[in-house]
Symmetry: C2
Subunit: 159 residues, 2 copies
């Protein structure tokens, strides 16, 4: 599953980040699954509510491929939480419109997400909690802002 274990004296930041993010992700997935959502569906729903956005825009926000967005929106439509509507300004593009039910579900799922985060943070003393968030934000905006490119191994054509 996750690689890399602790055991040395040196602080193993990889292990700490991999482990915590993985466990939190399983907690989040389990919590959202109870109302039939994936983390991605929740993410798209929330950002589609904020303002009129196309699939591409939502894909960018959620850092997904546009093809992944297609299946995510398919799932949202199937669940009756969102609909594709033609953009009034670009006939190629589709606006993701959240339904009334989608709005309700998103409110619920946002409470679930916040609750999962809250429970994790509440496990820390207040001073640590604050500093942890500040430090993580600093890393996200600085040294750990951009993924390093992995040389993708060219793919052969379709047929």
């Amino acid at each position: 599953m996750t690689a890399m274990a602790p055991s040395r004296a040196e602080p193993d930041l990889s292990f700490l980040l991999d482990h915590t993010s993985h466990v939190l992700r399983t907690q989040m997935a389990a919590a959202l699954a109870e109302i039939g959502l994936t983390a991605r569906m929740h993410c798209v729903l929330v950002h589609a509510i904020e303002e009129e956005r196309t699939q591409i825009q939502l894909a960018e926000i959620g850092d997904m491929d546009k093809t992944t967005m297609v299946v995510t929106v398919d799932a949202l439509e199937k669940a009756g939480l969102a609909e594709r509507r033609p953009s009034s300004t670009d006939r190629r593009a589709r606006i993701i419109a959240v339904t009334e039910k989608g709005r309700e579900v998103a409110e619920h799922s946002q409470r679930i997400v916040d609750g999962v985060h809250r429970k994790a943070l509440d496990a820390l003393p207040e001073d640590e909690r604050e500093v942890l968030l500040r430090a993580m934000n600093r890393l996200v905006e600085g040294h750990l802002s951009t993924p390093m490119e992995t040389p993708r191994p060219a793919r052969r054509a379709r047929q």
Copy 2:
């Protein structure tokens, strides 16, 4: 790639952990790739040096499946960094013996790993760094210690 984006007032711990662990992982992969190692190969190498260990024991330490361990050990053997030796006490088991070259490479890769971690931590003020590590360790040992079970969807037999 990674889902879930920031944007709300609530601290989005999922985003912070996912993003930082992902970026750090790409940095680590790139750094280790320069000497032909994956993070998993490094992990196995290091723990195989510490003491005589079987594949299963190493798999447990690195939190991998035994079948994943097979391919990792294959790679290490192919690179001349380790060898499978029959255990003297259990004829089913194989001890992973690290070669002299493997020892040298492991020393090098450990420096690389520590360097990648060091650079990330050095991007933080000292007080934040310390608290971050303390808080992460607290989470790993407490609220975020154990992944939540995902109901695996039974798999059909082979053939």
